[in-house]
């Protein structure tokens, strides 16, 4: 395993994706934890923009940025990139 961040180039088949807004909307976080690893979700939970929603269950989903998407891909190749 490698702890350092490296630049990679890849080609992958998209297997699944989920808007983060759906993650919280559908209570799918448990599934996504198993898909992507808990840290991937935690990264979003640590995002300040999500904190109000997490602290207040009545917070409207429309207030959550819709840009964040979690994607699971199946790599055909991965190469080191400069």
């Amino acid at each position: 395993m490698s702890g350092s961040v490296q630049n990679f180039e890849f080609l992958a088949r998209r297997q699944a994706y989920k808007n983060v807004i759906d993650v919280y909307d559908d209570n799918m976080r448990g599934d996504l934890d198993s898909w992507y690893g808990k840290k991937a979700i935690k990264r979003n939970r640590n995002n300040k923009e999500f904190e109000p929603y997490l602290k207040d269950s009545n917070y409207r989903l429309s207030n959550i940025p819709k840009k964040d998407v979690v994607i699971l891909g199946s790599p055909i190749y991965v190469a080191l990139s400069d």
Binding site: M1, G37, R43, Y77, V78
Partner: protein
Amino acid sequence: MKYYIYVSDTKVDMLYAQIPQSFLSKISVELKIDAKILSTTFKRPSSEENRYSKLEILSRYIQENEKVGTSDFHDNYIQDRLPMRWMSHGNLVYFSGAGNKSIIGLAGSSRNVLGFIETKYEGHDVSLPSSSPLDVLNRLAEIFDAEDKKIMMKEIMV
């Protein structure tokens, strides 16, 4: 030149076999290779040369004929360059990174990591040390005690 560290031969073979002959003929002109040679060459058991040639042609085919997006504008296929971390857990190898709009995780088999060597010893599957950074760091982690390994695992997770 690309410095590959992971190639899924299973996917390459499966997809390559579906590339229409017309595309192979077209690309053979571009590559100045006789189409017959191209098709017969790749029918042989895959050599390292064939492996990467097939991959290159397959990549071209996907780029030109399939829906290819990026991490932030994803589609059926995703082709991108990203800063990522990678780790292995058992037979799984996992690359993770983030674009401007998305988090991406690529999960595949450790067998597809270049340099991965697997053999059988007394009936059991055994992976032998290789020069793959993934393997080297795995082996180093085994040297440390369990607590150190836990810390190391936490550090590498995105």
